[in-house]
Amino acid sequence: MEGAMQTESKIRADSRTEPGPRGPGCSLRHFACEQNLLSRPDGSASFLQGVAEKSRERLIRNTCEAVVLGALHPRTSITVVLQVVSDAGSLLACCLNAACMALVDAGVPMRALFCGVTCALDSDGTLMLDPTAKQEKEARAVLTFALDSVERKLLMSTTKGLYSDAELQQCLAAAQTASTHVFRFYRESLQRRYSKS
């Protein structure tokens, strides 16, 4: 996709609810072109962090490419600018959710919605969904999945640490259940937005 069409989206989504007795609630807010001038200094900060950022960008880009119906917009480029306001753990999952909402807000035709869910496994095998930064550091393994909304298929996965095959299936199942909550939240927030305007 070449050319330029930037996502003009400024959504303020309210606290994101996650399953489990603990509800972190992190308000996500993402901007696009209005922030371009400001994002340049952030652009250089992300280059300083280097290779890890590139890897994350590629994961997000590939996930978006898989769902966006690019064939309907030939010779178009869709730029998704993600600006991290605060990082309290589960950063990649949060970026994925933000990217999805931005694409919906921009009206880009997609074959499905996607959401990101992070799972952490600690040393005795307990599963924690949506870990905080501290839990991520202490965990034995951290798995991030991107699931689609149609059949909850696995679109993207990236993992850190050692874990067994059975644990992977467990995490995947838990992530699939969690994704229903995230998709419900998408629906509610979009309904709220369109019912107002």
Binding site: G50, V51, A52, K54, S55, R58, L59, I60, R61, N62, T63, C64, E65, A66, A141, L143, A146, L147, D148, E151, K153, L154, L155, M156, S157, T158, T159, K160, G161, L162, Y163, S164, D165, L168, Q169, L172, A173
Partner: protein, 271 residues
């Protein structure tokens, strides 16, 4: 084949085989050569069909990082130059090279292939730093598998000389005559798959197949069946059952690779 590559491939896939005659779950012939570079502390050359990756490891002294004073570190670098494929241009590493380097770094970190404490000479002052350079000589798909294998073989080949810290001068004295191998704790083996049309999974894709695929998946497994890395950078979705198939294939692949490595190292011992 040039006009309608996807249709050409689909015709083969319907018969459950691929244009080069392989089955869907078959790997290309793997060959490995260890210790060919004399100037490096450890080296290996891996050929996966036509994909060729050479790995050279140099061990140098460095100060251990301040947040982990009793650990050395490993710095992997994957170099994809115009030499290996028309897709790359010379200059700073492109995105694919950076992603591959990050992947190798993750594998080293997650699998704990070597205990970083083994690399420490003097806590807080001196440690070994292993610079691993993986250079691709020919890119015909499945670069990640080849790089992981090359890294593993090279690490097994590395011999570090003994270092003692002289109490009086506080300088390190290197005894080049006494060399010891690294303690390799696990053997992570990568298995890559390409997803076609959201349903079909093929193992060890060539460059052509990677282009036509709708998604890729790389599984890195060690000998106990533990997964170090499940790398799926976007692409079409996969169900849990498909993932299970991938896991079982990865287990078989691990056994094949381990056998090959053991043979190579056994033949080297008398030297």
């Amino acid at each position: 084949r040039t006009v309608e590559p996807l249709e050409y491939y689909r015709r083969f896939l319907k018969e459950n085989c691929r244009p080069d005659g392989r089955e869907l779950g078959e790997f290309r012939t793997t060959t490995v050569n260890v210790g060919s570079i004399g100037t490096a502390d450890g080296s290996s050359l891996v050929k996966l069909g036509n994909t060729t990756v050479i790995c050279g490891i140099k061990a140098e002294f460095g100060a251990p990082p301040t947040d982990a004073p009793d650990k050395g570190y490993v710095v992997p670098n994957v170099d994809l130059s115009p030499l290996c494929s028309w897709r790359f241009r010379s200059g700073p590493p492109g995105e694919e090279a950076q992603v591959a380097s990050q992947f190798i770094a993750d594998v080293i970190e997650n699998s704990q292939i070597i205990q970083k404490e083994d690399l420490c000479i003097s806590s807080g002052k001196l440690a070994w730093v292993l610079y691993c350079d993986l250079i691709c000589l020919n890119h015909d798909g499945n670069i990640l598998d080849a790089c992981t294998f090359a890294l593993l073989a090279a690490l097994k080949n590395v011999q570090l000389p003994e270092v003692t810290i002289n109490e009086e001068t506080a300088l390190a004295e290197v005894n080049l005559k006494k060399k010891s191998y690294l303690n390799i704790r696990t053997h992570p083996v990568a298995t890559s798959f390409a997803v076609f049309d959201d349903t079909l999974l093929i193992v060890d894709p060539t460059e052509e197949e990677e282009h036509l695929a709708t998604g890729t998946l790389t599984v890195v497994m060690d000998e106990e069946g533990k997964l170090c890395c499940l790398h799926k950078p976007g692409g079409s979705g996969l169900t849990g059952a498909k993932l299970q198939d991938c896991m079982s294939r990865a287990v078989t692949r691990h056994k094949e690779v381990k056998k090959l490595m053991d043979e190579v190292f056994k033949s080297m011992k008398p030297k």
